[in-house]
């Protein structure tokens, strides 16, 4: 009987602090990571699959991500712009950061090449010859 009493006393005295610490760490992690990537990308653009492409590991903060939807509309961070405005934006980016600015074209899989070409030509005209195409390497588990 005496032994049982000692055991029950031990159970009541469990130290909760490490568990609460870990739970708070997890909450902070989720709060910080939940919105960052969603804001950048337009979910309406259905990217093509490229399972063998180079995975994006390090993001250059200067990267310009250009969205081209299936109708050929150009937008950067949800801001729709005409080709002329896009040219000005790219010219400013090159003037500010030089000709090593990474450009990622996120074209919808249905987009015609002539619309992608228009974006590439504008990039070439401002001196950017190295271009990246955005694609999906691995689809997330859920069906959208």
């Amino acid at each position: 009987m005496a032994k049982k009493r000692i055991r029950s006393g031990d159970v009541e005295g469990i130290n909760m602090t490490p568990m609460i610490d870990i739970v708070f760490q997890m909450i902070i992690f989720f709060v910080l990571t939940i919105d960052m990537d969603k804001k950048q990308f337009d979910d309406r653009i259905k990217l093509a699959m490229a399972p063998h492409g180079k995975a994006v590991e390090q993001k250059d903060p200067r990267t310009v991500i250009v969205d081209v939807n299936e109708r050929g509309t150009i937008s950067i961070a949800f801001a729709v712009m005409s080709p002329e405005v896009f040219r000005k934006v790219m010219r400013n980016a090159v003037a500010r950061y030089g000709q090593t600015v990474p450009v990622v074209i996120r074209g919808d899989r249905e987009t015609r090449h002539k619309d992608i070409r228009r974006v590439m030509d504008i990039c070439s005209s401002v001196g950017l010859w190295k271009i990246k195409f955005g694609a999906i390497k691995e689809k997330a588990g859920t069906v959208r």
């Binding site: 609460i20 271009i131 955005g134 691995e138």
Partner: protein, 138 residues
């Protein structure tokens, strides 16, 4: 002594704060974030080079041994020979075995879908070919 006793009592009070409601709320928050989080796709970047205006002028003098892949809206051609996607993959594997640094010229017609270009670039990445140049044609 009286002061010491008071301090001891206040220490006991702090230790007896009920933790259960806080843990309940923390778990609720955790479950909320776990349920609402949307998994993000793993992104890939396919690097290509765009010929500069000067090199476009020199295209008439392209060396005959250059690998040229043409993408139409309906099919694919490699060095003016029609191929399927699987056929192109095996050909690219063979070419990569010979020289992985050779330049591949990818020519896209205006109406070809972007997905096909990405597929071809992905195949080149699979074969280990890195020098890719995309040219647009009408």
């Amino acid at each position: 002594m009286a002061l010491r006793r008071r301090i001891k009592l206040s220490d006991d009070d702090v230790a007896e704060i009920p933790m259960t409601p806080m843990i309940d709320i923390v778990f609720q928050l955790l479950i909320y974030f776990l349920v609402t989080i949307k998994p993000i796709d793993v992104m890939a970047h396919l690097d290509v080079y765009r010929p500069s205006p000067e090199s476009q002028r020199q295209q008439s003098e392209v060396p005959p041994n250059l690998i040229k892949i043409t993408i139409f809206d309906q099919g694919l051609m490699i060095n003016d020979r029609l191929v399927s996607l699987s056929g192109l993959a095996s050909l690219l594997d063979k070419l990569a075995d010979l020289d992985p640094n050779q330049t591949i010229l990818i020519m896209c017609t205006a109406l070809s879908p972007h997905e096909r270009l990405v597929q071809v670039l992905d195949m080149c990445a699979q074969s280990g070919l890195n020098n890719l140049s995309v040219i647009s044609t009408n």
